[in-house]
Amino acid sequence: MIPLSWYVLFSAALFCIGLYGALARRNALAILMAIELMLNAVNINLVAFWRYITPDLIAGQAFALIVFAVAASEAAVGMALIISIYRHRNTVAVEEIDMLKW
């Protein structure tokens, strides 16, 4: 009833929206949120392909679980870095963090 192409198109759209957010926003947190959108698009793609092409091989869901773990850890470290940069430079706009020393 729902062809695979719908899911793949949806995840392509979500990925491109995330790509625009990561390339065009100034705030580091907004870039992080756009990266989370991209990771979600990848997850949908993985699970859709698992469901439609190989529903008896559980590799698709296992892969998606590992992507969850990776996304959580990189979000945590990214936000710790943002907090640290905010403490030193008092800004979170990525354009203003352009000098290595001070």
Partner: protein
């Protein structure tokens, strides 16, 4: 005539895409975080439509209950910089928009030319309980996916230690501020 499943998919997908667009265009960070929560919930609904119930609940538990709350807390902690209505897109935002549009057009062109993508869902080989048990066994089976599982746990440990070390508060020494 659209079946109920197709209506459910279209509603969920439309809601998710609209929320995602609002995430990348809202100037206020708090509102962007709220739209992100709606997007993540929409993705969880799509997981349910794909018969991956376990992943849907894990999506809510990991993304909404952990990452989204972390984002809101960091928005609060960096309040001075995020509350102002400063310009939220950089000077070359049109480059990003063009890149995203070209990528989307390319992907659509690719997918419409692939006949293998027009299939409907085959029947599930096992019941939901058997799927869950198979997933659990696959993650600890020596011949299957135990290595990515263990590497993911080491990665989480490294992220835990790393984020604590990076975000430690400053200690004001006699002459200068040093990391604690």
């Amino acid at each position: 005539m659209l079946s109920l499943l197709q209506i459910a998919f279209l509603v969920a997908a439309f809601l998710t895409i609209v929320s995602a667009i609002m995430v990348v265009t809202t100037p206020s960070m708090v509102h962007a975080a709220l739209w992100l929560i709606l997007t993540l919930a929409g993705v969880a609904v799509l997981f349910l439509l794909l018969n991956a119930g376990f992943l849907a609940v894990v999506q809510i538990a990991v993304y909404i209950d952990a990452i989204a709350i972390m984002i809101i807390i960091v928005v609060m902690l960096t309040k001075g910089a995020t509350r102002q209505r400063i310009r939220q897109v950089n000077k070359t935002w049109w480059g990003g928009a063009i890149a995203a549009l070209i990528l989307f057009a390319g992907l659509i062109a690719l997918f419409t030319q692939t006949p293998a993508l027009a299939v409907n869902a085959p029947a599930l080989a096992m019941s939901q309980e058997a799927l869950l048990e198979d997933l659990g066994m696959a993650l600890v089976d020596v011949n299957r996916y135990i290595i990515p599982f263990e590497v993911a746990s080491v990665l989480l440990l490294a992220a835990l230690i790393g984020s604590i070390m990076v975000a430690r508060p400053l200690v004001r020494g006699k002459d200068e501020e040093v990391e604690a």
